[in-house]
């Protein structure tokens, strides 16, 4: 290898005005927020919400984390050149939200439920966790609790010890509005979320 990778460093506590300025009320734009469907009537698929907290090793919610999500459209296609299947043009598939503006330190994404990417993998959302105290970001995946059959056959879930798989399953909670999938991320502890080396 000609050159070594640039080391990761923590996002620190003060990222908000640089990366999530609009969400936090700073006078700067941001490239993406928590709502992946607002103002995009052409987005096809079932509207859902993804809601959760980031919890530290003492079970306390982390109020200075940033979550990013990256997902396929309702037909399982990504809006990226490496996916040649002409994804739903209205849907970008990327969201970003800090945990510092909700009174319960939650991240809240409004999006659509993705389709299966390749017919083998169950519908899933790719997540990346950043926080003060995380020197390197942590990758994980979110699966959906109402996709039991697809989850059972998913090649990634099947790489994970069965006892730890539930940490990657978001629980569907029906509500008045769009269905909510609850997905808490536990950075440490007996039920530490499974983090992936991608």
């Amino acid at each position: 290898m000609a050159r070594g990778q640039t080391p990761s460093q923590t996002i620190g506590p003060y990222f908000a005005y640089g990366l999530t300025a609009h969400q936090y009320g700073y006078p700067f734009s941001q490239i993406a927020g928590g709502d992946l469907v607002a103002g995009r009537p052409g987005v096809q698929g079932e509207r859902v919400q993804i809601v959760g907290q980031v919890l530290d090793g003492a079970g306390a919610p982390v109020d200075d984390a940033m979550i990013e999500i990256w997902q396929a459209d309702a037909s399982g296609r990504y809006a990226h050149a490496a996916d040649t299947r002409n994804a739903n043009a209205s849907f970008k598939g990327f969201g970003r939200m800090g945990t510092g503006t909700d009174p319960d330190q939650r991240f809240i994404f409004r999006t659509i439920k993705p389709g299966s990417v390749d017919g083998r993998q169950a519908p899933h959302v790719n997540l990346c966790v950043f926080a003060r105290g995380l020197l390197t970001h942590a990758y994980t995946r979110l699966y959906f609790s109402d996709e039991g059959e697809a989850n059972a056959a998913d090649p990634v879930l099947n790489l994970i010890p069965e006892a730890r798989r539930p940490t990657l399953i978001a629980r569907r909670q029906d509500s008045e509005g769009d269905p909510v999938y609850r997905f808490d991320i536990r950075l440490q502890g007996n039920d530490e979320t499974v983090f992936l080396e991608i």
């Binding site: 290898m1 000609a2 050159r3 070594g4 990778q5 640039t6 080391p7 990761s8 460093q9 923590t10 620190g12 506590p13 003060y14 990222f15 908000a16 005005y17 640089g18 990366l19 300025a21 700073y26 006078p27 700067f28 734009s29 490239i31 993406a32 530290d56 090793g57 982390v62 200075d64 990013e68 990256w70 990504y78 990226h80 490496a82 996916d83 990417v117 083998r120 899933h124 790719n126 990346c128 950043f130 926080a131 003060r132 105290g133 995380l134 020197l135 390197t136 970001h137 942590a138 090649p155 790489l159 994970i160 950075l187 440490q188 530490e192 499974v194 983090f195 992936l196 080396e197 991608i198």
Partner: protein, 232 residues
């Protein structure tokens, strides 16, 4: 389709680094589970020139109210490449930093140093066809933090990059050469020793503009794409 080289843990800091106290309750402790690359990992968010405003890369002007920000004007430039030294064009870079007095505009920063009405400290730009980027800003000040007695962060600028895929995502910090605080900083020292120098920009008289601003060069190396075929 080929997967990206894995994250090199001889380069990246471990999750738990005892001298940086916040890692104690936040760094994951169970081993990461490696997964084969699929479309989910080799694709990633695409943000091009349409997502960057005309002044976004000029932090001396992008939030100016009634004048120029105080401090030492600097140019920060460099190339984004992969491990094979191939340029990474059209990659979004977002930066944020303290002002010249060492104060962040963030609501949670209570350091008793002045805010600058003409400086926000956030910027972004897109790399060109050679992977090159360029920011104009002011040199950030050092500031105290609560990690240990008399703890000060070295001068630094936070960098966030996407690269070509979700797997190449990187957030890092650029430090300045010769800063005496580096050898005391648990975040910098949490990085494997052999890789620390990659976090330090270098002064360049060639980038320096006469009568205007000092120049620093900071290259960023993202994960490269290996030759091994993908398995999933």
């Amino acid at each position: 389709m080929n997967p990206y080289n894995p994250r090199d843990w001889q380069s990246h800091p471990p999750y738990v680094s005892p001298s940086y106290k916040s890692t104690g309750l936040r760094g994951p402790t169970k081993p990461l589970i490696p997964i084969p690359a699929s479309l989910s990992e080799i694709t990633g968010p695409v943000y091009g020139h349409e997502s960057v405003g005309a002044l976004d890369a000029d932090l001396t002007r992008n939030n100016a109210k009634n004048g120029a920000p105080l401090g030492e004007r600097i140019i920060v430039t460099g190339r984004v490449v992969d491990e094979f030294d191939r340029p990474q064009p059209n990659t979004l870079i977002e930066i944020w930093q303290a002002n010249a007095a060492g104060r962040y505009i963030h609501h949670g920063d209570n350091h008793d140093a002045p805010l600058d009405p003409n400086f926000l400290g956030g910027g972004r730009c897109i790399t060109d066809n050679d992977g090159r980027y360029r920011f104009l800003t002011v040199r950030p000040g050092a500031y105290p933090w609560g990690n240990h007695a008399n703890a000060w962060r070295p001068n630094h600028i936070h960098f966030s990059l996407f690269g070509p895929s979700f797997a190449t995502r990187l957030i890092t910090q650029m430090y300045f050469p010769g800063d005496p605080l580096l050898e005391l900083d648990p975040i910098f020292l949490g990085t494997p020793e052999a890789a620390r120098d990659r976090l330090i920009g270098s002064f360049s008289i060639d980038v320096t503009e006469e009568g205007f601003a000092l120049g620093y060069v900071f290259d960023i190396v993202l994960r490269g794409r290996s030759e091994t075929p993908m398995e999933i």
